[in-house]
């Protein structure tokens, strides 16, 4: 039931773009994205509800393809502050608040 994230790790130069994918084998109600820096708490980025909507947060946006049960996180013109591990948390097709997190994607942005 754990969603699968890809890639596992990515290294970028400042200003480059990246896409992180989160796929589930189960029908989803929502997908939640978090970023966690080493030794710190996960920080909320955004929520996608089923319906294929796309959301944006500064230069970070995300989409949710309900048919494929897949969400993608887009990081545009990456900054050093974007470095960290990105987790998607998936919620099944009913609003329970219970999230199942993927294994994470580690992003490193270099100068």
């Amino acid at each position: 039931q754990q969603p699968v994230q890809s890639p596992q790790a990515v290294i970028l130069r400042e200003g480059e773009d990246a896409v992180i994918n989160c796929s589930s084998s189960k029908a989803l109600y929502s997908v939640h994205w978090y970023r966690q820096k080493h030794g710190e708490a996960p920080v909320f980025l955004m929520i996608l509800l089923k319906g294929g909507e796309q959301k944006g947060h500064e230069k970070i946006s995300a989409s949710f393809n309900e048919k494929k049960q897949q969400s993608s996180l887009y990081l545009t013109a990456s900054q050093l502050s974007y470095s960290g591990t990105y987790f998607c948390g998936t919620e099944k097709a009913s609003n329970t608040g219970k999230l199942i997190f993927g294994q994470g994607t580690t992003l490193q942005v270099k100068p």
Binding site: H32, A41, I47, N95, G97, K98, L99, F101, Q103, G104
Partner: protein, 117 residues
């Protein structure tokens, strides 16, 4: 900005000892979650409270773990006895949306790093 508080931040204990972690959610948040995060993995839900009631504790190892939220505000997670495999980060999260609301945004505390020797 309101934050979820947790203490202690770090705990080192020997196996077979008892440990307890405390969490104070953002004021007014009715839902509280305890997660365990093993190094290199995503958080795993242990228990979910709605006010003082347990909503989901299906992943909580009940032979050694217990959690309570007596007055529906702060919460305590206990492990007794601790085992080597319990070494992990224990995260608390809270949300303001009531049960059965449209969507539930969870905000995490800084966590307690537990090391069992």
């Amino acid at each position: 900005e309101a934050e979820v508080a947790q203490s202690p931040r770090y705990k080192i204990t020997e196996k077979s000892q008892a440990v307890a972690f405390w969490c104070d959610p953002i004021s007014g948040h009715a839902t509280l979650y305890w997660y365990r995060q093993i190094l290199g993995q995503g958080p795993e839900l242990l228990v979910q409270f709605q006010d003082e009631s347990v909503v989901d504790d299906s992943q909580l190892p009940k032979d050694r773990f217990s959690a309570e939220r007596l007055k529906g505000v702060d919460s305590t997670l206990k492990i007794q006895p601790a085992e080597l495999g319990d070494s992990a980060m224990y995260l608390c999260a809270s949300s303001s949306m009531g049960y059965r609301e449209l969507v539930d945004t969870q905000y995490f505390g800084p966590g307690t790093r537990l090391t069992v020797l």
